[in-house]
Symmetry: C2
Subunit: 306 residues, 2 copies
Amino acid sequence: MNFEDQLKDFSRQVLFNADFGKLSPFKNIVISGMGGSGIAGSIFSELYDKAPVQVVSDYKLPAYADKDTLFVGISYSGNTEETISATKEAIKRNCQIRLITSGGELSELGQETVLVPKGYQPRAALGYLIKPFLNSFITSDKPVYEKISAILSEMETDNSLEKGTAAKIFGKNSIPYVLGYPPFRWVAYRWKTQFNENSKLLAFSSYFPELDHNDAIPFKHTYGKDTFSFIVFGGSTGQIEKRVRYTSEITSTDFITIKPGGESTLERMFYFIHAGDYISYHLGKMRKIDPEDVSVLTELKERLKS
Amino acid sequence: MNFEDQLKDFSRQVLFNADFGKLSPFKNIVISGMGGSGIAGSIFSELYDKAPVQVVSDYKLPAYADKDTLFVGISYSGNTEETISATKEAIKRNCQIRLITSGGELSELGQETVLVPKGYQPRAALGYLIKPFLNSFITSDKPVYEKISAILSEMETDNSLEKGTAAKIFGKNSIPYVLGYPPFRWVAYRWKTQFNENSKLLAFSSYFPELDHNDAIPFKHTYGKDTFSFIVFGGSTGQIEKRVRYTSEITSTDFITIKPGGESTLERMFYFIHAGDYISYHLGKMRKIDPEDVSVLTELKERLKS
């Protein structure tokens, strides 16, 4: 599959019906994952609050992780050094373990594993990586995901809206700054990473209400403001909606607003994720670079092994 | 106290000996705090891993928060709407409650409260806000903090090094991008917010090893790279030290390295925090803006009330 076909596969991935199987009771969840794999855990952590969830982007495991901990190790390749290191420690600590991977060293550790299909860039396999969490803890209701799949499929057929947003960013050679709000703070971070990888651009994310305690000042006073495109997710309500509006007005900052697709949190979450996929992809194409190429990361990994 | 005197007070603040008093057993910690107040909880969360710690930058409390939760509400002013809202919910849920504030509505909720001195900008009171956590959970050993106080005091007497770093950033009218590593990821975020508030500049933070899974690509390929100053904390070891070096080499990116003061994690943590205070302060002065002024945030708060 070429990279555009991989992107187009997302509407199919949300129908992936794997889950973690029967789980013993646990007191907390620790998720280990980096980059495009870890983001699945981070996005899930915003939807689930029946137990503390910590996403570890590091080699180590927190001291509290023990037999009462559900440990989920995610690495699409199965060969991410930080996640392998954390998983081995989780085994020693007798955590209840679930792994999500397409193969590699992680699949050879003899632990209960959700195997996902090979052949994707990790960031184009987010549907496979996040669905085991959603099916196990949020909902496994088929019609819910069929509706989401239809929404995503529409974007895959016609993404001229997303292409238009990419053109706005590209038109002024700007750096995207994506402003989310709960429960889409990590979706905003996903956009940042997609701009990094697909568009080969520096990009940043923050979220309301936190940014009103610091970023709002430079929104008014900074130099270099023209360097940035400020992108906000639409569809907020209450105090957050007011904050978005007042922040724009008081600081005289134009926001590019991404209108939400769908109504429910899950529908909007997947819609926003996929909009970011396509905007970053089109932006990469406009820059005449290869959206799929991640040779810098590969070179880094190789040197770290030696 | 003028703002420079407030900054200079940090070496005295680390001697603040308040703690949370006797605590009943708890299974997890939830900290509510925004901006310059919340950062105390976030920095602490990287030093402590005997129980899950979640810092909530939002109006709501996670569903799991109950009688087995230690809830800490931090608001320097005591009038932060998000923190007041979360604290009231924590009271309803029968959490074990501790508050840190200088007064305001938070001090009138009839809960066990660490009262800190009035008269500071919240971001210049970080010593007061973080010490109750450190004294209660990390160490309350007086000589430890006396040594840190001496290190900070030296910087307060002579911060020409920090002024020099500010001049580098100002010299090319650049946007700071601060790259931390565990356990200084939130110190990097503190720098971002200090640049936002004291220098009135957009600024960003990320950290190793996570950034090697996304940012490293634009470090090589982005447009507008000259717009940024890349700042890394020195003193890393092992794989992290290699990652810093290889990332710089492979992507041809110059990092401004901040040499650590002190040896222990706590010494370096406070040293890095204070270096960020002074660099952002001097940068504000060079820009001929008032480092203390946060009128944009005040205006936002006023409009949100109406």
